[in-house]
């Protein structure tokens, strides 16, 4: 008996725990790079979309929780107007679901109207209403319609406006922006899926020689498919994970060092701060990894079956 070659383990000299396909060759590396980049883009798009939605939600919540009481100057004296303002404030403060009430000074009123009416004394001649800014309790907001009815009845020339039309328009705009984000994500996901599938097939085509030899020495289709699947499962999963981890690191960097407060806060909330949002983000990233791995696996499987079926073909 001849001496065994050096480097053999106890488990056996060959193939132990090894895949029979080449571990790393140029097309497989190209596939892995493509997979990493596409998963990175998809993860960035998903994270960006969640951040946008969160910003829209915060913005909408801010607008929705604001209302304004107007007290029109009727034919009474400034003192009487002030009495009506005080009455409105008293009623508002006695209403549940209102967190803060603030009377805007005449100066503030003028500042608000300046962009439209200028600053040449016209404002002094116009009957400018007094305004009271109302901040609603977000968790338990007051019923604005009922409050408006009450104020109208109790205080002459007063009413409460919840900016309904304005909020509706904002809401429509925000929803459009949100769905635009989804569309962009879907586009990137589709492009990623196509590229990953193509790269997987190209990588497998380069293994055709190995597959043919395995086939000709009597390997069963199932055996060959399993070898291919194992290789692509590992390569696909690791590449997709790498792409998502890089996206995570970039968002984490933004959470600490982004120059804009909004982006810093948004990234922080998305990754660590807002539990629900963070869970949603991590779940989306997990889906990206699983989906990309599945696509690469399915593409490789389809390609290997096609190669095997062509092995014994008519001349």
């Amino acid at each position: 008996m001849s001496a065994r070659p050096t480097g053999w383990g106890r488990a056996g000299p060959v193939f132990a725990g090894r895949n029979i396909l080449p571990r790393a060759h140029a097309p497989l590396r190209t596939f892995m790079v493509a997979m990493t980049v596409m998963c990175f883009l998809a993860a960035m798009a998903a994270g960006g979309m969640f951040m946008t939605w969160q910003a829209i939600d915060t913005w909408k919540a801010g607008v929705v929780s604001e209302a304004t009481a107007q007290i029109m100057p009727l034919d009474d004296s400034p003192e009487d107007v002030q009495k009506r303002v005080d009455e409105v404030v008293r009623l508002l403060r006695g209403t549940e679901g209102i967190r803060r009430v603030r009377v805007l000074s005449m100066e503030e009123n003028r500042d608000l109207l300046k962009p439209w009416l200028g600053q040449f004394g016209l404002l002094d001649d116009l009957p400018v209403p007094r305004l009271v800014a109302i901040t609603l309790d977000r968790k338990n907001p007051a019923n604005i319609e009922a409050l408006d009815g009450l104020i109208r009845v109790k205080v002459r020339g007063a009413r409460v406006d919840a900016h309904g039309h304005w909020v509706l328009q904002l809401s429509d705009m925000a929803r459009t922006a949100g769905w635009l984000g989804v569309a962009i994500l879907a586009g990137i996901a589709l492009a990623a899926a196509i590229l990953v599938a193509w790269a997987a097939r190209a990588a497998l085509e380069s293994n055709r020689e190995t597959i043919e030899v395995l086939h000709l020495v009597g390997a069963r289709d199932r055996f060959i498919a399993r070898q291919v699947e194992k290789r692509f499962l590992r390569a696909g999963f690791l590449s997709a994970l790498a792409g998502v981890v890089v996206a995570f690191l970039i968002f984490a960097l933004l959470a600490f060092v982004a120059p804009s407060d909004g982006i810093r806060e948004g990234a922080w909330n998305m990754l660590f701060g807002d539990r629900r949002l963070a869970l949603r983000t991590y779940a989306a990233w997990a889906v990206i990894v699983v989906a990309a791995t599945t696509i690469s696996l399915a593409s490789a499987r389809t390609a290997v079956i096609r190669i095997l079926q062509n092995m014994f073909r008519q001349g």
């Binding site: 571990r23 190995t210 008519q314």
Partner: protein
Amino acid sequence: MIRFENVGVRYGNGPEILRDVSFELEEGSFAFLTGPSGAGKTTLLRLMYLGLRPTRGLIHMFGEDIATLPRHRFPDMRRRIGVVFQDFRLLDHLTTFENVALPLFVDGKRSSEYADDVMELLAWVGLGDHANAYPPVLSGGEKQRAAIARAIVGKPRLLLADEPTGNVDPALARRLLRLFVELNRLGTTIVIATHDHQLLNAAPQARIMTIHDGRLTMTAGGTP
């Protein structure tokens, strides 16, 4: 063991590469397949190792009609056939040992079952010291011997070799021929495609299958 009846092969819409090929090889026979380059030797070997489906005609291997053989039984059929390819078809990412052991590995055997046999075979073909070497560092002759070792490691009933002495010196060619003759004595049917006339002369008892213009003629011969 092998029976061809009016077999024809055409690639796409091109001319017929093989025309009305009919022959029969009994179990344990030894045959040379010869003819000029491009005559169809490799195509005929491909038909025999189930790498190609004929355009027409019938092929019986080991008593089975290939046309009606279900796909899942092909691997079993192939394991009875050892093939030495003209271009060796060794896998560059596997060691010589692994390349030779490949048919046993895909058959589900454990390495502990075949390690000694494979080493013995490698030593027999003069590659005992190259077990851990990868094909790119082997010479043409060494690759040839590794390919032969891989073809015979599973003790096939039929050995097909395409120009097995094309890359070796005359002395080694004679040694390889002795190896084939020895295998044949042990019961393996041998078909060697070659246009090396010295090889043909070295085994005068072998049957000669000659292909010319896609047609096969066969001279009588006996088992050596």
